[in-house]
Symmetry: C2
Subunit: 244 residues, 2 copies
């Protein structure tokens, strides 16, 4: 197959590298607005072109840019996105005639960009697909097979709304907590006084604010529910400790 | 040296195993109220005896039991403890004539007990010593050398109050957050929808409540300060997301 990747950041770049490494019978083309990134990707074997009539096009952009792209896209092949929120994306896609598969590859790194992209990022990771009434089963199957061939260990399928409800808890809330954790003034004194629990708690806290604030905004209600549950539980702890 | 270990749980057991593995010129004796644990430790090379006139005695008990032990102990050798809080321990020790070194080896596992003890638990971990005005420099040096010989990568030294202030943030708060995180009803739906951020956030959340509630109680004020900071930061996030 010809696979085209729009946006060669951490996710797009890691998909490109994983396909080239683990499924080399496919050809990979792609594009990024950053010329240096295009040069790096070309050296890795990605054919650089802005538009391609591909069998699969992965849109690897932020939610807002993904929606913009969907609105103007006229590819006849399968189109998939990789956003961490799915309802807003699936709604935008359902308004078009595209053969669209809403996806969310569940892996990442605290550092973004093509330079940090890794063919092995997907090893043992879960690949989520959130079909709507308009999604073609045959296209889901093509994406599924590709995902399993490049390192993902399992495929999870659910409707977009359910995905967003669960992901608010498993991913977005974790990023917010980790970020808030790093805001204590005690942070400046921790050297020599940390073990695994601190490292784990703070690993994802230093995220790209522009990308994540978009994700938070697109999943506002679910996230507010989880935040309020967590705050209530923390407050209960605080009360119990205070009363001994 | 003869090293005696009171309490052969995860920490005492891991110290015993690490000394036997990495500093085998020392002899290790120890005791646990659980006979099965004593049998396991004996098979590993620990001489089982309740009392020993050792060069170093490590008290590897919970804070309350450590304080009880300190009050009745009459050993002439160096006594060290391993509790995650230091002010209450150092105060109790300072009221005795013991040659006492308050310590906190900064590693652990979510599962306790001798069966989970590991000679390599201390690799790359920090060993904290919190001397008071009464602590002998020569005894600190003996403990320091031993710690570095069994796998710890660095020694951090500070006064007990400062330790407790920092540890409230780097360890105790992390355990509380992780535990609260696991209390969302969404937990039952996460299979297939988690990545590294969720695993990290929840790794230490399922802790031994009796041990940790003692630690929380012994470090109440510092912990309440950090909890309130975190709750404020989470509430600020919640407000910002709510206002978009």
């Amino acid at each position: 197959m010809n696979i085209h990747i729009i946006g060669l950041g951490l996710i797009g770049g890691s998909l490109a590298k994983a396909i080239l490494k683990y499924s080399p019978t496919h050809s990979v083309s792609g594009f990024d607005t950053d010329e240096d990134v295009c040069a790096l990707a070309a050296a890795d074997g990605v054919e650089i072109k802005e538009k391609a009539e591909a069998d699969i096009t992965f849109i690897c952009l932020t939610p807002n840019k993904t929606i913009e792209y969907i609105k103007t896209c006229d590819s006849k092949g399968i189109i998939a996105d990789v956003c961490g929120v799915k309802s807003v994306i699936a709604e935008a896609a359902d308004e078009t005639a595209l053969d669209f598969v809403p996806c969310h590859p569940m892996a990442g790194r605290p550092v973004g960009g093509y330079a940090n992209a890794d063919a092995d990022l997907w090893q043992k990771a879960s690949f989520i697909i959130t079909p709507t009434d308009k999604t073609k089963a045959i296209s889901v199957e093509v994406i599924e097979k590709l995902a399993l061939s490049i390192g993902f260990s399992d495929i999870a399928k659910t409707v977009p709304a359910d995905h967003d409800r669960i992901i608010a808890y498993t991913s977005q809330l974790a990023h917010i907590v980790s970020n808030c954790y790093l805001k204590s003034p005690t942070l400046s004194d921790v050297e020599g006084y940390t073990g695994g629990s601190f490292q784990d708690m703070t690993r994802v806290g230093d995220f790209d604010p522009s990308l994540w604030s978009e994700l938070f905004r697109c999943n506002k209600d679910n996230l507010l529910t989880e935040l309020s549950r967590l705050i209530d539980n923390l407050r209960e702890y605080s009360n119990k400790i205070s009363e001994e």
